[in-house]
């Protein structure tokens, strides 16, 4: 039969992680909570709000003390209409996986229900809010998780978040000769202008009005 990590296991793992995080980083503006997904299994995850100046310390603690070994995803979001202290947000999704090297000709067959302690797979969401401005900057965690390297490249390329200390930063999805400061997922680049539905109504652009229409020449 198929197996799965139970809700009690995950809940206890998430609670103990939140307890150590809150104890270690109490009073420094870092706030971690246990949240639950809303779909069928209501699985818990740990949500951590961090400030950019504390991020490296928290990341090291996560990696070496609660064995979060997998940096799976970095998402930047632009909030041009947001409050002054939250113009940008960087969300990191990390996983804890019970994976270790095996001896030759052997393998590890985990039984989900019997996992305990730091072996229980768990999901972490780290949120960093950045102030409004043209140069959102967070420290790079490339040196802590190798997997963060290309995720950070992508986030800089598409959203324009600067990762301080990242080595070998370059365009990955946009052309290498894209103009500087061009990051297409920033909100000033719009998909529709003047309410004109270009993609559906007028793919060739024949219906577009010339820029000087109505002007006396």
């Amino acid at each position: 039969m198929g197996m799965r990590v139970t809700l009690e296991q995950s809940d206890s793992a998430a609670k103990s992680c939140v307890a150590v995080l809150n104890e270690r980083f109490s009073g420094s503006g870092i706030n971690s909570t246990v949240e639950h997904h809303s779909n069928a299994f209501k699985m818990p995850f740990v949500r951590i709000h961090v400030t950019p100046q504390h991020w490296l310390a928290v990341a090291k603690f996560m990696k070496y003390d609660i064995s979060v070994n997998y940096c799976s995803m970095v998402t930047g979001t632009h909030f041009p209409d947001g409050p002054a202290e939250r113009g940008w947000e960087v969300a990191y999704h990390m996983m804890r996986m019970p994976v270790s090297n095996v001896k030759p000709n052997t393998n590890t067959k985990h039984v989900a229900e019997k996992l305990s302690g730091n072996d229980i797979p768990l999901e972490f969401e780290v949120l960093i809010a950045l102030e409004q401005g043209d140069t959102p900057t967070v420290p790079s965690i490339q040196s802590i998780w190798v997997g963060a390297d290309w995720n950070e490249k992508e986030t800089w390329d598409l959203v324009g978040i600067n990762f301080e200390g990242h080595e070998n930063m370059h365009r990955v999805l946009n052309p290498h000769d894209s103009p500087e400061q061009f990051h297409p997922l920033q909100k000033q680049h719009k998909l529709r202008y003047h309410g004109h539905n270009e993609m559906y109504d007028d793919p060739q652009g024949f219906g577009r009005k010339p820029a000087d229409e109505g002007r006396n020449k």
Partner: protein, 379 residues
């Protein structure tokens, strides 16, 4: 000897898509590599900001041209997390079956493309022949051979057709024998073994550290699988166990292990499908009309400001993840930001670095064994 850079791709058979691998060679030996991606970047994440939640599904189908169903499902679970939709159990079983059928088709496409890389052109024709069976089954569900647009937020588009179960069981039973044929063809072929064994070693911990997941990590001897570790759907109710290999060296899994783990995974998927179709609530030969409460629950269409949805899904190449922020323009009808995590985007640069030290002739074997797909990589 002088060192020089060689550019392989974007039009090289090794790439399985469009990307460039630049290799620095010293004689025959690779001393440095560099991956260049982005040739088919379509800006899906930006397009999705202007579409409502149902309209996004076909875009997610088109993320990967060999496993559309798993990517659409992956998005749907994130959207359901965001919109707090409930899914009837029958729909979950149908989704499981459709995703596993897609996994079979995708692994066959991989094997079919990997064979010619290694020098076995016969394999391509065999795999395409068998893949056709599963494409026909998926066509019965979604109406199309490639992009199905099948799952919906809160259920599935329509129920399994009458007679689908019988046809599927017959095809899976046939396919289980065909897997043995493949193994007879490949495991007894000296060329296959010489090209794959002892080539492209990767250790489990290194891969996890670098962000590689899925069958590539299971090949290195750990049965970590998103389907049990971050459970979704009804995988705990059907009979299966994660495919896992026993690598023969301290250096980790080689290309041969990665081939073996995918063969085993095809067996497990077949087993899972046969079990799921018997256990499906409402019976395997009933056909509920589209929108019936057995297969579809009405879900909200607007997401409140500040709500987020996340899904972690075992795609055919590793963990695919979606992260959606609600409350965009159109008062929550569209996502404010939709972010896609593609397993291959992280894997390809990692694999490029593991090639250092091997010979040029090993590149197709190493790269092909990781199953690259550029549609999802470039998004």
């Amino acid at each position: 000897m002088a060192q020089m850079w060689i550019t392989m791709g974007p039009q090289h058979p090794m790439t399985h898509g469009l990307w460039t691998l630049r290799v620095k060679v010293d004689g025959e030996t690779i001393v440095d590599t560099d991956a260049e991606l982005g040739y088919i970047h379509r800006g899906v994440e930006k397009i999705c900001e202007d579409r409502d939640f149902t309209q996004i599904t076909p875009y997610c189908d088109r993320l990967c041209y060999v496993s559309a169903m798993t990517w659409a499902n992956s998005y749907i679970y994130a959207a359901e997390d965001l919109l707090e939709a409930e899914v009837p159990e029958r729909a979950e079983f149908i989704r499981l079956i459709s995703a596993e059928l897609q996994r079979l088709a995708s692994h066959l496409m991989w094997l079919g493309a990997f064979g010619p890389d290694i020098g076995s052109l016969t394999l391509m024709t065999w795999c395409m022949r068998d893949r056709e069976m599963f494409l026909d089954l998926l066509q019965e569900l979604g109406g199309s051979r490639m992009h199905y647009n099948y799952p919906r937020i809160g259920g599935v588009k329509r129920d399994i057709p009458v007679g689908f179960a019988t046809r599927m069981i017959a095809k899976i039973k046939l396919f289980e024998k065909r897997i043995e044929e493949y193994e007879m063809l490949l495991d007894e072929s000296t060329i296959w073994l010489v090209r794959l064994q002892g080539v492209g070693y990767t250790k489990a911990e290194d891969m996890v550290e670098a962000g590689v997941s899925g069958p590539n990590v299971r090949a290195a001897g750990v049965n970590y699988d998103v389907r049990w570790a971050h459970p979704y759907s009804v995988y705990d109710q059907v009979d299966w166990e994660p495919a896992v290999e026993k690598p023969t060296s301290v250096k980790g899994a080689d290309c041969y292990d990665r081939y073996r783990v995918r063969m085993e995974e095809m067996r497990q998927s077949s087993k899972m499908i046969l079990d799921a179709i018997e256990k499906i609530p409402g019976g395997k030969n009933t056909n509920y009309s589209a929108g019936d409460e057995m297969i579809m629950t009405k879900a909200p269409t607007r997401a409140p400001e500040g709500a987020t949805g996340f899904s972690n899904y075992e795609c055919t190449r590793g963990a695919s993840q979606f992260y959606i922020k609600g409350g965009g323009e159109g008062r929550g009808k569209n996502p404010y930001r939709l972010s896609i995590r593609s397993p291959m985007f992280i894997t390809i640069p990692y694999v490029a670095k593991t090639m250092i030290g091997y010979k040029i002739a090993d590149i197709p074997a190493i790269m092909g064994s990781f199953d690259p797909c550029i549609g999802e990589t470039d998004r």
